[in-house]
């Protein structure tokens, strides 16, 4: 009895070999429960004919959902929309982010305030971001058309145009997340050592050469971080698109996420929605492995 009481006390005071296991196990158990279980459940659901509207008809259907996906033009369309949305947003955000960071890394009046103001778009509630821009994109009263009009351009029905809607959504994402990229890159720029630049100046390097051969390689880890986080978040993006277009007009802004949501909760086809989710899981796992390998090599 006595010795077991003692070992209990050792356990409780963490004076034991098992301390790390003891500390980590609660979060481990919780996360296994809330991630592994849903994944298995989603796999099972994806192999079923399962409509929420006719639950009594639920039955095992093998790979039928996946086979249907291969021939479903709407799935391929939403994949294409996702890729365009991600590629365009990341491109603009990285380029504009680096430019802004370079401008901000100089000494200038009000740099503290500038940094604070820059945070605002990034932390603003995404649903509210969507609403603000719906208001500004309004074809009749919106300020964007007013500004275009003042500059002599024709007003647009931004969010109801088949071609303009996706670019409007991309524009909003760029507004919301460029400051984030800029602040990450800025952290990198402010950690740069002085010596290589002094040496380069002695060697007569131009500013452009210094940027290309010194700054870019030195801030590469920061660029990779910004890229990876933007990539992960863009793939799961939903809020602003839902508020601005709900995937429309037609399917013009329907990303995979939106397609999965509509399939499951509007068309009630949970079996198919689950197979879309599983497919997305495969894609993101594959791509992130690839990205991690790439960043390790470089």
């Amino acid at each position: 009895m006595k010795s077991s009481g003692k070992s209990w006390r050792l356990l409780l005071t963490l004076e034991t070999e098992a301390a790390p296991k003891l500390l980590v196990s609660p979060i481990f158990i919780f996360l296994v429960a809330v991630t592994v279980f849903p994944t298995i459940y989603a796999v099972i659901t994806s192999l079923q004919y399962y409509f929420l509207s006719e639950p009594y008809n639920k039955h095992f259907s093998g790979l039928a959902n996946y086979r249907f996906m291969l021939t479903d033009a709407r799935f391929w369309g939403s994949l294409k929309t996702t890729l365009l949305f991600m590629a365009a947003s990341i491109c603009f955000e990285m380029i504009a982010g680096v430019i802004l960071a370079l401008l901000m890394s100089r000494k200038f009046f009000g740099s503290g305030l500038a940094k604070t103001l820059f945070l605002l778009p990034t932390i603003t509630t995404p649903v509210v971001v969507g609403l603000i821009w719906v208001m500004m994109f309004d074809p009749q009263f919106g300020i964007i058309n007013y500004l275009l009009d003042q500059l002599g351009f024709a007003p647009q029905a931004w969010l109801s145009g088949t071609h303009s809607a996706i670019w409007a959504v991309i524009g909003v994402d760029v507004w919301e997340w460029t400051p984030y990229v800029a602040l990450v890159v800025l952290a990198g720029l402010q950690s740069l050592p002085d010596e290589p630049y002094e040496a380069a100046t002695v060697d007569g390097a131009t500013n452009l050469q210094k940027f290309w051969h010194l700054t870019l390689p030195l801030i590469k880890p920061y660029l990779v971080i910004a890229f990876v986080f933007r990539f992960m978040d863009l793939f799961r993006w939903f809020d602003t698109i839902y508020v601005m277009t709900k995937g429309g007009p037609g399917t013009a802004t329907e990303t995979l996420n939106m397609f999965g949501y509509l399939t499951g909760f509007n068309f009630m086809n949970v079996g198919y929605a689950a197979s879309i989710g599983i497919t997305m899981l495969f894609m993101i796992t594959f791509v992130s492995k690839f990205v991690i390998n790439l960043s390790r090599k470089g």
Binding site: L12, T13, L14, E15, P20, L23, V24, P26, I27, L31, T35, F37, P38, Y41, L100, L103, M104, R106, F108, F109, G110, K115, L117, F118, L119, L120, P121, I123, T124, T125, P126, V127, V128, V129, L131, I132, M135, M136, F141, I143, Y146, W175, V184, A187, G188, F229, F235, R236, Y242, L256, N257, Y261, G264, A273, A274, G277, M280, L281, I284, S288
Partner: protein
């Protein structure tokens, strides 16, 4: 380059920078202006910059108490999910920071990767199971699912914070007779207060801003403010003044908290990748 040329170039770059900052802040400023406009002013063309401000929109939003109820739901869910995440993540973060462990990095990355799972894949099983067990439209269900993302943030942020605290302090305390647990509770935790506060606020903001899970898992009882605000878009059209007033109310705590912890914000948003 002469000095004059140099200063004027700098001045030009500063002007350019501030113009860009103004462009980035403008939409939020516009939201604030719209929230203070009457219906007529909100729908005027050309858009009005100068007008007599009114608090009518705020009054209308608060009047019948439903929005306030959803606002309170947001506070509740964000607070509870942060609190329970902290309870689970702090010990684990400490273990990762202090003990040699097998497969430590694999574990840390596994926790991070839970964040990458496609939301639609995560939410469907929860929806189906919650439906069966009558957990739809409950605070418990929403808190549970919000914890899935706040946990990984707190774990990563606090791990790097604990690592920055010298081990010597703990060891000195243990030589003075404190157990490891007391050393953790009485030395490490107080020293990490700023980091804990920052990661709490961060997790609070994440839960506060969340939309999709709340949209699917809640109904009239436990709906959060982010979902409730889309309710101002009605069939008769959008009541812009009220949407803007509600929007300001939703955004305000996030902006205040965000500015409060701005030093840690980028660190949090990159899971400690940027110090």
């Amino acid at each position: 380059m002469t000095l004059v040329q140099k200063t004027s170039k700098q001045l030009l770059l500063n002007l350019l920078l501030w113009a860009m900052i103004a462009a980035f802040v403008f939409p939020l400023f516009w939201l604030l202006l719209t929230s203070l406009k009457t219906r007529v002013d909100a729908f005027s063309y050309p858009p009005k910059f100068i007008f007599t401000p009114t608090y009518d929109n705020y009054r209308k939003v608060l009047e019948d108490g439903t929005f306030l109820h959803y606002y309170w739901n947001s506070v509740k869910v964000s607070f509870l999910s942060t609190f329970f995440s902290l309870l689970l993540a702090l010990p684990a973060a400490y273990a990762l920071a202090r003990f040699p462990m097998r497969k430590k990095e694999d574990f840390a990355f596994w926790v991070l990767s839970t964040r990458m799972a496609p939301p639609i894949m995560v939410i469907l099983p929860f929806y189906l199971v919650f439906k069966q067990f009558n957990l739809l439209d409950t605070t418990f269900g929403l808190v549970l699912i919000y914890m899935t993302f706040s946990l990984s943030f707190i774990l990563w942020m606090m791990r790097s914070y604990f690592e920055s605290i010298p081990v010597d302090l703990e060891e000195a305390a243990r030589i003075d007779g404190l157990s490891r647990l007391s050393a953790f509770l009485r030395v490490v935790i107080p020293l990490s207060a700023p980091g804990i506060a920052a990661s709490c606020i961060f997790s609070f903001i994440m839960s506060w801003n969340e939309f999709l899970y709340s949209l699917i898992l809640t109904g009239d009882k436990t709906k959060t403010a982010t979902v409730a605000i889309t309710g101002f878009i009605t069939f008769e059209g959008i009541r812009w003044g009220e949407v803007a007033a509600a929007g300001i109310m939703v955004v305000l705590p996030v902006l205040v908290f965000g500015i409060l912890i701005q030093k840690y914000l980028i660190q949090g948003m990159t899971m400690g990748g940027v110090k």
